[in-house]
Amino acid sequence: MNIVVCVKQIPDPADPGALDPETKTLKRDVKLILDESDSYGVEMALQLAGDEGTVSLVSMAPNSEVGGLRTALAMGAESAVLVSDDALKGSDALTTAKVLAAAIAKSSPDLVIAATESSDGYTGTVPEQIAALMDLPSVTFAKEIALDGGTAKVKRQTESGYDSVECPLPCLVSVTAGVVEPRYPSFKGIMAAKAKPVEEVTVADLGLDAGSVGWAGAGQEIVSIEDAPAREAGEVIEDEGDAHERIVAFLDELKVL
């Protein structure tokens, strides 16, 4: 079983980064860490691979960043491919998917795992784009994955419960955050991770044309950026005997009942 996990390396959310007013994108020249959203996929992959399978990582990040990859390697992944190239600055979601697909294809995996969405960009489209580009079936919102011969049996989270779906391998599954307890890297895992191979490749290495990626290849343009509107003050319901009714009415209005 050969599993590839797509992992994003993002600015530490505890130490929030800034937007670059010129490019209107997040500044990524700070130290990057493993996106927590991806730690669930790494954990699932490690559990699925067990002792026999292999888990490798694919990441696209600027400045040869490996901080987040090292964390995932310390958790137990065996190797990583990092795509880092100045030409990739300004890449949109589809370009990112093209680049990752090309990097993933190198190892012909049985299973590709990605997060549902990243915690800094939230586009939530890259995994399905990768699947389409690689001509793989894809299953979204997985809360559980089991492998049975050449089939992936996936429980897909839905609003009311979950769907059980089956999908032939190879396939791509995107995993919902919070569905497993990601392991903490052990001290030995951290030390071992230092010796694990991280292959750094460029756009050219992947056989892509520099003109088709980055700003040049972007099919999307960020027109303007604005601060999120401040949260409006909530409604305070004073109990005059009818508070429960008013709360029910309020929830009804939100269509959560």
Partner: protein
């Protein structure tokens, strides 16, 4: 209540400016600052997520003794301990041979700092285990090391240190626990030990008690003490925990703080005598204790830092949120966060600067211990060992006293809410209060400093130490500006310390009680000046980082600010202590014991 945040930038700064980890790391497979921090970041993440949230329940529920003689630790502790063991954080400073991480002890100290801030009660289990490991590493037979160390270094088995008895506290030599040799060469131990930290608990598979006892014809006092391994479960032929040994907890204490840590009265040999295995030779137990004392005392000194850091984080948060009173110049009718009041600033900065100073002292001490083991040549190793000897009572005594002061100040910043248990800030004050008492009371530390450490090598060790301080003074003064002002304050404090040291040397020689009388104010003075000195070095390093175009100038400016505050407000306290150091015995004994009461 605020969550604990691992102070990784501060740790990085001391590893770089005080420890010189890149240099020390050459003896540890080329370990450098970035690699060190990569490791500590992961340790910090684990500790912040898994241990820090337990601090409160550790206090409110505490450890409980059950009717069947077992002890249940607070909810969540056993699980967190298991995860701690699996992650391998307890053993990183120990040799690879026994499954340790082969890192410098200083890296172990950095992990321990975060663990202790997260929950001091929790941290005591690994802490006592470390003491027992140190003892076995240095003095255990090969067979004993093979039998116990791997499991203790991993943390699967914990350790305890059994010194104290009802009539033997500071005076360990008065202990009475008996050890009688059996025909098979093992010993039978009988006696009662009190205040035994983690003497019984449910977090580890076995507990390796190290017990000080006396053989039948041992000489009196410290010269007649032997040290024994008394496992809770005697190991079977395969080395696994087997038959229950005759070593049991009788009761656990109700304490001011560290409720999570069970403090046990232990009964050895209520039935046929607990089976014990002699470490090394008979009557050498006290000598063996001394080899592990530097580490153990450093670890307790570190507690002063750790609890202060946690209390500071909480008090800082409160000071930014609590709105009360109007500052000078603010709009009429408006109110300010209390952090804007000059006196609250003073309190916060006093905490901040003392925390920086304590961290510098603890890590400096730890690096000296490391270099005493791995230094390039015998002379370097000896110099580092001497420095560690000198620093031990300073670290233990000063940092734990300051820990009480800082945690008290945290309560002060909260005002009434600090005195109410609800906010959790009072817990830090209660937890911190033990540290000046155990592992040699601070009174004993002061005596150790004045009577044992100052005379080392005919005064050459303290002489070299004062000379090192003078070098920093010169460097600060030639750097100009704010740094020169720090240098000027340090220069006068070093002069005071030198004067006090000379007085103790001259008068203590003729009458030791003269020196003993001034020992505690001297220890305080020594702590203050050492703190101010190392903060001077920290400020020089911070300025160098700024000059080199660091991408985090605000952090380094804050380090200079902290040193400047220490120089302005705290270093001058040294001068006020001189009179007390040199007052001599007569003023203490002018009143006899009866007059003292009237």
């Amino acid at each position: 209540m605020t969550e604990y945040r691992a102070p990784l930038r501060d740790i990085r700064h001391v590893l770089s400016s005080i420890v010189d980890i890149d240099d020390l790391g050459q003896h540890f497979g080329g370990l450098d600052l970035d690699t060190s921090m990569g490791i500590l970041e992961e340790a910090g993440r684990f500790i912040v997520d898994q241990v820090a949230p337990l601090n409160r329940v550790g206090d409110t529920v505490g450890s409980v003794l059950n009717d069947d003689g077992t002890v249940t630790t607070p909810p969540g502790f056993a699980e967190a301990y298991k995860a701690f063991v699996e992650a391998g954080w307890g053993g990183i400073g120990f040799p690879e041979e026994y499954g340790g991480g082969a890192m410098p002890g200083t890296m172990g100290i950095a992990v321990q700092e975060m663990l202790t801030s997260a929950s001091m009660g929790f941290s005591l289990c690994p802490l006592l285990t470390q003491g027992a490991i140190d003892m076995l590493l240095h003095h255990g037979s090969e067979q004993q090391r093979e039998t116990y160390l791997a499991k203790m270094i991993s943390g699967q088995w914990s350790g305890t240190m059994n010194l104290t008895e009802p009539d033997a506290g500071s005076d360990v030599g008065a202990l009475r626990t008996k050890a009688v040799k059996a025909d098979d060469g093992t010993y039978r131990i009988t006696g009662t030990k009190i205040y035994i930290t983690f003497g019984e608990h449910d977090m580890a598979e076995n507990i390796v008690h190290l017990v000080l006892a006396r053989t039948p014809d041992a000489p009196p006092g410290t010269k007649g003490i032997s040290c024994f391994i008394v496992p809770k479960f005697i190991l079977d032929a395969d080395g696994n925990p087997g038959v229950r040994n005759d070593a049991k907890v009788v009761s656990i204490e109700h304490k001011l703080g560290i409720h999570a840590s069970p403090t046990c009265v232990m009964a050895f040999g209520e039935e046929d005598g607990a089976v014990g295995y002699l470490i090394g030779e008979e009557n050498q137990g006290m000598r063996y204790m001394f080899t592990m004392m530097n580490n153990a005392r450093l670890s307790v000194g570190l507690e002063g830092l750790c609890i202060s850091e946690r209390a500071f984080q909480q008090a800082y948060q409160y000071a930014t949120e609590r709105v009360q009173g109007r500052t000078v110049g603010a709009e009429k009718g408006s109110s300010n966060a209390i952090i804007d009041h000059p006196d609250v600033r003073r309190m916060l900065l006093t905490m901040r600067a003392q925390i920086d100073a304590m961290r510098a002292i603890c890590y400096y001490d730890s690096a000296a211990v490391d270099r005493s083991l791995v230094g390039d040549n015998e002379a370097d190793r000896q110099a580092a060992a001497d420095l560690a000897q000198l620093l031990t009572p300073i670290t233990k005594g000063w940092c734990t006293d300051v820990g009480c002061e800082v945690t008290s100040t945290a309560i002060q910043i909260y005002g009434g809410m600090g005195y109410v248990e609800e906010t959790g800030v009072a817990q830090h004050f209660r937890d911190a209060r033990i540290a000046p008492i155990y592992e040699g009371t601070n009174g004993i530390q002061a005596l150790d400093l004045v009577m044992r450490k100052l005379p080392m090598n005919g005064g050459a060790v303290i002489g070299g130490y004062l000379a090192d301080m003078a070098k920093t003074t010169t460097a600060l003064q030639s750097a100009g500006g704010e740094l020169a002002a720090i240098g000027a304050s340090l220069e006068s404090a070093v002069a005071t310390l030198t004067e006090a040291t000379t007085w103790l040397g001259e008068n203590g020689m003729a009458d030791p009680v003269q020196a003993m009388a001034g020992a505690t104010p001297y220890l305080e003075m020594m702590g203050i000046v050492t703190g101010g000195w190392l903060l001077g070095r920290s400020a020089l390093a911070a300025q160098a980082a700024i000059d080199a175009g660091t991408d985090d100038p605000s952090f380094f400016e804050a380090k200079i600010g902290s040193a400047a505050f220490f120089a302005a407000h705290l270093l001058p306290r040294a001068a006020g202590l001189l009179a007390a150091v040199t007052a001599g015995r007569d003023v203490l004994f002018r009143l006899d014991a009866d007059q003292l009461a009237s």
